[in-house]
């Protein structure tokens, strides 16, 4: 398997892009993964689903700007070096 570090970075970038593309209103709320629906009380056990929902929301919020930069760099590099 010809793995290079660069392919790992590309795969990671694509995964983060995939998470960032999930739209709050149009999609996540429709399948019950919206954040306004699942913030329960301050109970002891968050549970996997609410952890996932929080994770998705945090990633979308935090990575929005860095993703723009990283995607642009990757596109330029791919255009230049194939």
């Amino acid at each position: 398997m010809a793995f290079t570090l660069y392919s790992l970075l590309q795969a990671a970038l694509l995964c983060v892009n995939a998470v960032a593309v999930l739209h709050e209103e149009r999609f996540l709320n429709k399948i019950g993964w919206g954040t306004d629906q699942s913030i329960g009380g301050f109970g002891e056990e968050p549970g996997i689903k609410s952890q996932l929902v929080n994770l998705i929301r945090s990633v979308r919020m935090v990575m929005r700007l860095p993703l723009i930069v990283l995607n642009s760099i990757t596109i330029v590099l791919l255009l230049l070096f194939g």
């Binding site: 398997m1 056990e45 952890q51």
Partner: protein, 228 residues
């Protein structure tokens, strides 16, 4: 909003990422420790007490405690695995320097993927554990000892020897992982062996078993193409 801030800001989640100042503790090993640990990795069945003696802020230096994870063995085992892989490929006339580089980056990347997957699942199950990222890298690196044994046995005894040695090492690593991780991931009562009901403990047990079960898969995946 508060919830997200709390989850991200709480130290347990972020400062897990590579505390570099603690790195030197993981290399504080001596010959006796390395010998005992290698023995434990190949034959973990006689060892009774898997508990790491707790120390205040710093990680336990492996020199004083045989159950503590270290980075010396994984690092050395990784490099030895590359050398053995090169040697094995050479005996089949498939060797070239690029292949060695490919092997190195493949193995390294699988290690990174495994550690990231474990980190993600630990986050999702909200386990309050003192397992740092470096501990996870150490545990993920211990499988290289079994892989080296398997490939060397395959070189000396052929395919049968490879399967026997690899099978033995796989089972040993699974037992080693389960016994070590059980103390760190499960709650106190469950780790004692008392059956504690509840979905959380069940989830944690499944997680421990999943981490242990993934090791043989990687061990086979990274070595089967080396032995003919």
């Amino acid at each position: 909003m508060m919830r997200v801030g709390g989850a991200i800001g709480a130290g347990n989640h972020i400062d897990r990422f590579i505390p570099v100042s603690k790195l030197k503790y993981y290399f504080a090993v001596d010959t006796i420790y390395v010998g005992k640990k290698l023995g434990l990795l190949i034959f973990p069945y006689m060892h009774q007490n898997w508990e790491v003696r707790y120390q205040q802020d710093s990680p336990v230096a492996p020199r004083v405690e045989v159950n503590a994870p270290d980075l010396y063995i994984p690092a050395m085992a990784f490099i030895t695995y590359l050398l053995v892989a090169g040697f094995a490929l050479g005996t089949q006339s498939r060797f070239s320097p690029e292949v060695l580089g490919m092997q190195a980056s493949s193995a390294l990347i699988w290690l990174i993927i495994e550690v990231l997957a474990i980190l993600l699942s630990l986050y999702l199950v909200t386990v309050n554990t003192d397992l740092t990222t470096i501990d996870l890298i150490a545990f993920a690196g211990y499988k290289y000892v079994g892989m080296i044994t398997g490939v060397v046995a395959g070189l000396i005894f052929g395919r049968t020897g490879y399967y026997i040695a690899l099978g033995w090492c796989c089972i040993s690593i699974v037992v080693f992982m389960i016994r070590t991780l059980r103390l760190k991931i499960l709650s106190e009562a469950a780790a004692e062996g008392v059956l504690v009901r509840g979905t959380r403990n069940q989830l944690r047990m499944y997680l421990t078993m999943a981490i242990a079960a993934v090791q043989p898969i990687f061990m086979y995946w990274l070595t089967f193409h080396l032995v003919r």
